[in-house]
C-alpha cells in the first residue's frame, strides 16, 4: 500500500491504496465520486476526463499516485453554490446529452477546450478538439452547439466576475 494525498474539488483527501490504483478508481471507489465514468479503460472514449492542476486528463490511465499533491476537479466540483457551471447549463439547454454516461467527460473536456482555445470557437475547432471523447447517443450535433454556447457563457461569466 502507498499513501496518496491530493485536493479533490477543493477538499484535502488522502488514503492508503494499492500502488496500481488508477486515479479514476481512487475517485470512484475511495471517494465515491461516481460522476467520473470508465467507458473504455484505454484512454480512447474520454468518459473519465477530469481536471488535474487545471488540465484535462484521462483518469483511467493515470495512477492515483502520480496525482500526489495535485489539485483535482471532477464533474461534481463544477457547480458552485447550487449554480451550474456555464458549460453544464449549455449541455442542458442544447439537449447535448441523452443517456448521460459520456456527459461528465464531455463537459470536462469542453471546459478544457475553452481554456486552451478561447471562447470564440467555430464548429470545425470544436469537432476536432472533441476527438478524444466518444458519444454513441447524440451524433454530436447538439454537443457541438453546447460547447460553443458554453464557451460564450464562460467568457461572459468571467467578464461579469471582473
Amino acid at each position: 500500500m502507498i499513501h496518496v494525498s491530493m485536493k479533490v474539488n477543493g477538499k484535502a483527501v488522502s488514503a492508503d491504496v494499492d500502488p496500481r490504483t488508477l486515479l479514476v478508481q481512487f475517485l470512484r471507489e475511495n471517494l465515491r465520486l461516481t460522476g467520473t465514468h470508465v467507458g473504455c479503460d484505454t484512454s480512447q472514449c474520454g468518459a473519465c476526463v477530469v481536471q488535474v492542476d487545471g488540465r484535462a486528463i484521462k483518469s483511467c490511465t493515470t495512477l492515483a499516485a502520480s496525482s500526489e499533491g495535485s489539485d483535482v476537479v471532477t464533474i461534481e466540483g463544477l457547480a458552485k453554490g447550487g449554480k451550474l457551471h456555464p458549460m453544464q447549463q449549455a449541455f442542458q439547454d442544447n439537449h447535448a446529452l441523452q443517456c448521460g454516461f459520456c456527459t461528465p467527460g464531455m463537459i470536462m473536456s469542453a471546459i478544457d477546450i475553452v481554456h486552451r482555445k478561447g471562447s470564440n470557437l467555430d464548429e470545425h475547432t470544436i469537432r476536432e478538439e472533441l476527438e478524444g471523447n466518444i458519444c454513441r447517443c447524440t451524433g454530436y450535433h447538439n454537443i457541438v452547439k453546447a460547447v460553443a454556447e458554453g464557451a460564450r457563457g464562460m467568457a461572459s461569466g468571467a467578464k461579469a466576475a471582473e
Partner: protein, 788 residues
C-alpha cells in the same frame, strides 16, 4: 399547446443529475461486503473444455470462489432461452443449441465465459484468474457467414446440421417468379451488410445481492427490460422464483438493443450472490463488451428487382444468409426474419415479393437486435437496389421513387405488413427543398473544379415499430406478448407518480411521459415523477426497444389517465354536489356544466383520499389506476434522408457535406428530443456506412476488440444535420405517435453509399466505405472510364 404539454420542446428533467455527476448507473452502486467477479473467457473460437484446475486460484489472496459450468449445472442453473421460434420452409422448428450460463464441455466463441473468479477486490480476482489452468482441445471453427452452411464446415451445435438454424421464407414465390418472367428490366445486387458492435458507452454491469433473511435476490443490472430479465432468470434459468428475485435497472448508459438480452454475467452474479451469501459485482472492461455483447447485422444478400418498360416495380426477390453467431440470444431469430424481410416492400407499391433467409450458426458471439434490428438491413437492400435501378434506367432517383410510392392507405404489402397511414411524396418534396436538390448540379461542378467528386444519395425508408401487437407477434412465433403497462398514482396533494414498464436509457421518458401527464391533468410538470426499472415497484413491463416506449408505453399511460379522469370526475361530482355526468374536466379544472361552480385537481385528489364526501361502498377511496395497452398494429414511421458527399479520389476520403432528414413520426411529444434521436440514429448509420465493421480472422479471433481497432464515429467524422418532420397521425394508438428511436440508423447507410456511388459512377462500394475501399472503387471507375 401548453409550455410543458404535448408538442413542447421541454428541457429534460433527467439532465440535472447527469450534468452534475449524480447519475446512478449500475457500477456506481456498491453493497456492503461486496465481492468482485472476473470472468475467464475462452481464447479459442471453438474448443472442448477438457479440464479446469482451480486449485491454485482458490489458494490466491482474497479469492472467495471459482465457479465453472459444472458448478452451474450442479446447482441446476438452466440455459438461456430464445423468445421467438421460427419455423423453416418445411415446417420444422428452428434448431436451438444449448446456451448455458457458463460454457460447459465446449466453448463456442472467443470471449465465451468459461469460469468466474470471485474475490474481495477486482484486482485479486483478475490476478487469481491467471492461475486457473484450463485444458482446451482446440477445434476448427466456422466463422464466415457465406460459407458456414456449406458441407464440411466445422459444426457449432451437433443438433444443427450444416450450422443451419432455419431456412425460412416469406411471400409468394410463384407470383414473384411470374412477375420476373415478364419483366422488361431486372436490376441485380449482391451485398454484405457489415457486422457491427453496439458500443453503448456504459459497459454492461451486474451486481447480485442476496438477503438470507427473506431469501431474496436483488440484481442490479444494465438492462433495457428488467421484467423480461427477471422472467428469464426465474422461469428458465431457475435462479430464483419471480417473487424472490428483484431486478433493478437504474440509470443505464445507452443500450441500442445490446442490453435487451439476458447474458451469462447477470445470471452468474445473481446465482453466485446467493451461493456465497455475499454481494457479487461485475463490470465489463471495454474489450469484454466488444467480445461478449451481442453484435448486430451481418447479412450476405442477393437481391433482384423486376421492372416493366415504364419503370414500374413489378416484383422483388431476395436471398439472405444471416449470421446468428454461436448461441441463441433472447430475440435473435426474429431479427433477420420478422424484423427484416417483411420490410422489403419499402415505401413502394410492389405487387410481388419473395424472400428466403438462411440463418447460420458460427463460432462468433451471438448476433441479435441492434438499433433498427433487421430494418436497416431491409432498407439497405431496398434503397440501394432502387437507386441502382433508377440509374440503370436513366431516371432521376427522386422521381423514380415517387412514381413507385405507395399512395393510398391502408396498403397491404405482399409480405405481411399493412401500412396504415403515410404521405411519402410530402416527405420527399420537403427533403428535396431543404437539401437544395436543384443546386446539386452547380455544386458538383464546383467540386469537380477542385478535383473532387460530389454525389447525392437518397434513402426513402420505412420501418415497422411500436413493437408490438401481441396476437400478431404470437402468430409469428413470439413467446411473449409485447403490450405495455402503466400505473398512475395521484397523491393526496395532487402530485403524480407514473410507473412504467418501459425503461429509459437516454430516451428522456422522465420528461416526455411527464409532458403527457401535465397536458392531460393540467398540472405543473414539476409535480410529475416517472418511475421505471424496478420489478418491485413496477407491476410488469416489456421494456424499451423497437421504438415502443412512445407508441406503446405512452398509450398505456394514456389509458390509465382515462381511468384517472373518469374516477376524478366522480369524486368531483361529490365535492361539487352535482351529477357525475354534469362534470367537465379541462385544464386541470372540474366544472359543473353550465355553471361557474368548479374545483381544481388538487382538491379532487385530496377529497379522493380523505373520502369524507362520498360513501366508500359506492366509490372506492384513493386515486390510482393501472392499465395494460396492447397495440392493434405496428406503427410505420417513414421518411426521406438525403446525403451529399464530396469524395477525394486521390485519398478516398469521403466528407459528408450535407445531411437532410425529413421524417414522419406521427404526433411528436417533444420535438427537441425527437431531433436528438434522429441525430444519434443517423450518426450510428453513418458509422456503419463509413467507419464501423467487426472483423474476425479465420480462426475466430476478433481483430476489432478495442477503440483503437473498431472505428467509432467521433465528432470530427460527422456533419451537422438538417432535420425536419412531416406528420400523418398514427391511427392505431390514442396519441397518434409512431416512434423515432431507430429511424436514423435505418435510413442512413444506403443514403451514404448511394451518395458515394453517385460520386464515383461505380456501384461496387462495400460498407464500411473506408478511404481504402473508396480509393479502390475510384481507381476502378477511372479505369472503366478510360477504357470506354
Amino acid at each position: 399547446m401548453s409550455a410543458t404539454g404535448i408538442g413542447a420542446s421541454v428541457k429534460r428533467k433527467e439532465d440535472h443529475r447527469f450534468i452534475t455527476g449524480k447519475g446512478h448507473y449500475t457500477d456506481d452502486i456498491n453493497r456492503p461486503g461486496q465481492a468482485y467477479a472476473y470472468f475467464l473467457r475462452s481464447p479459442h473460437a471453438h474448443a472442448t473444455i477438457n479440464k479446469i484446475d482451480t486449485s491454485a486460484a482458490l489458494a490466491s489472496a482474497g479469492v472467495v470462489a471459482v465457479l465453472t459450468g459444472a458448478d452451474a449445472v450442479a446447482d441446476k442453473i438452466g440455459a438461456h432461452v430464445c423468445g421467438w421460434t421460427i419455423h423453416s420452409k418445411d415446417g420444422s422448428p428452428m434448431k436451438v443449441g444449448s446456451y448455458p450460463a457458463l460454457a460447459h464441455g465446449k466453448a463456442l466463441y472467443v470471449g465465451d465465459p468459461v469460469a468466474v473468479v470471485i474475490a474481495d477486490t477486482y484486482s485479486q480476482a483478475k490476478d487469481a484468474a491467471e492461475s486457473v489452468n484450463i485444458d482446451y482441445g482446440v477445434l476448427p471453427a466456422a466463422i464466415d457467414t457465406a460459407s458456414a452452411a456449406k458441407p464440411g464446415q466445422p459444426q457449432v451445435h451437433d443438433l444443427a446440421p450444416n450450422n443451419t438454424v432455419f431456412n425460412w421464407h416469406v411471400g409468394d414465390k410463384a407470383a414473384t417468379d411470374a412477375a420476373f418472367a415478364k419483366a422488361a428490366h431486372v436490376t441485380k445486387f449482391d451485398l454484405v451488410n457489415n457486422r457491427l458492435i453496439p458500443n453503448a458507452m456504459e459497459p454492461r454491469s451486474a451486481l447480485g445481492d442476496y438477503d438470507s433473511g427473506t431469501d431474496t435476490i436483488t440484481l442490479y443490472s444494465t438492462s433495457q427490460n428488467p421484467h423480461v430479465a427477471r422472467l428469464v432468470l426465474s422461469a428458465f434459468q431457475g435462479v430464483a422464483p419471480e417473487h424472490k428475485l428483484r431486478v433493478i435497472a437504474p440509470d443505464v448508459g445507452g443500450g441500442f438493443g445490446s442490453k435487451i438480452f439476458i447474458y451469462n454475467e447477470e445470471t452468474v452474479c445473481a446465482w453466485a450472490a446467493k451461493k456465497l451469501d455475499r454481494p457479487v459485482k461485475w463490470t465489463a472492461e471495454r474489450t469484454e463488451s466488444f467480445l461478449a455483447d451481442a453484435h448486430g447485422r451481418d447479412h450476405v444478400t442477393h437481391a433482384e428487382l423486376a421492372l416493366d418498360a415504364s419503370g414500374k416495380m413489378l416484383a422483388l426477390r431476395a436471398h439472405t444468409i444471416a449470421n446468428l453467431g454461436a448461441y441463441p440470444s433472447t430475440f435473435w431469430s426474429a431479427v433477420p426474419t420478422y424484423l427484416y424481410a417483411i420490410l422489403l416492400s419499402g415505401q413502394y407499391d410492389i405487387p410481388a415479393i419473395y424472400a428466403e433467409v438462411d440463418a447460420v450458426y458460427t463460432n462468433t458471439v451471438s448476433v441479435d437486435a441492434l438499433r433498427g434490428a433487421g430494418r436497416p438491413e431491409a432498407t439497405f437492400v431496398v434503397e440501394r437496389i432502387v437507386e441502382m435501378a433508377a440509374r440503370e434506367l436513366g431516371r432521376d432517383p427522386a422521381e423514380f421513387r415517387r412514381a413507385n410510392f405507395v399512395k393510398s392507405f391502408p396498403h397491404q404489402t405482399p409480405v405481411i405488413l399493412c401500412y396504415d397511414a403515410g404521405d411519402y411524396p410530402a416527405a420527399l418534396d420537403k427533403a428535396l427543398a431543404l437539401a437544395d436538390y436543384k443546386g446539386v448540379g452547380a455544386r458538383k461542378a464546383a467540386s469537380a473544379a477542385k478535383g473532387k467528386l460530389r454525389g447525392v444519395g437518397f434513402s426513402a425508408y420505412i420501418e415497422a415499430c411500436g413493437l408490438a401487437p401481441s396476437a400478431a407477434v404470437g402468430s409469428l412465433g413470439a413467446g411473449v406478448g409485447l403490450w405495455e403497462s402503466a400505473e398512475v398514482r395521484v397523491n393526496p396533494v395532487g402530485t403524480v407518480e407514473v410507473l412504467t414498464g418501459c425503461h429509459s436509457h437516454g430516451q428522456g421518458h422522465e420528461t416526455t411521459y411527464a409532458q403527457l401527464v401535465s397536458d392531460r391533468l393540467g398540472i405543473p410538470i414539476e409535480n410529475v415523477s416517472i418511475l421505471h426499472g424496478d420489478t418491485d415497484k413496477v407491476q410488469f413491463g416489456m421494456g424499451t426497444y423497437g421504438s415502443r416506449s412512445g407508441a406503446v408505453g405512452m398509450s398505456a399511460i394514456s389509458k390509465a389517465l382515462d381511468k384517472i379522469e373518469a374516477k376524478a370526475k366522480k369524486v368531483a361530482g361529490h365535492v361539487l354536489e352535482a351529477a357525475e355526468g354534469d362534470i367537465e374536466f379541462k385544464d386541470g379544472k372540474f366544472t359543473v356544466r353550465g355553471t361557474d361552480k368548479s374545483t381544481d385537481f388538487v382538491s379532487v385528489a385530496l377529497n379522493a383520499y380523505i373520502a369524507h364526501k362520498f360513501n366508500g361502498q359506492e366509490l372506492e377511496p384513493g386515486l390510482k389506476e393501472t392499465a395494460f395497452w396492447d397495440p392493434t398494429n405496428f406503427t410505420f414511421p417513414a421518411g426521406v434522408h438525403i446525403c451529399e458527399v464530396e469524395v477525394d479520389p486521390e485519398t478516398g476520403v469521403t466528407k459528408i457535406d450535407r445531411w437532410t432528414a425529413v421524417d414522419d413520426f406521427g404526433v411528436l411529444i417533444n420535438p427537441m428530443i425527437v431531433e436528438g434521436q434522429v441525430h444519434g440514429g443517423v450518426a450510428h448509420g453513418i458509422g456503419q456506412a463509413l467507419l464501423e465493421g467487426a472483423v474476425y480472422n479465420a480462426d475466430g479471433q476478433l481483430l476489432t476488440a478495442s477503440y483503437m481497432d473498431y472505428c467509432m464515429p467521433r465528432a470530427d467524422d460527422l456533419p451537422s444535420y438538417k432535420v425536419a418532420t412531416t406528420e400523418t397521425r398514427c391511427p392505431s394508438n390514442p396519441l397518434g405517435m409512431k416512434g423515432c428511436g431507430e429511424a436514423g440508423a435505418i435510413a442512413s447507410p444506403p443514403a451514404v453509399i448511394n451518395a458515394i456511388t453517385d460520386a464515383l459512377g461505380h456501384e461496387d462500394v462495400a460498407m464500411p466505405a473506408t478511404p481504402q475501399v473508396v480509393w479502390r472503387a475510384a481507381q476502378k471507375s477511372k479505369q472503366k472510364r478510360a477504357a470506354e
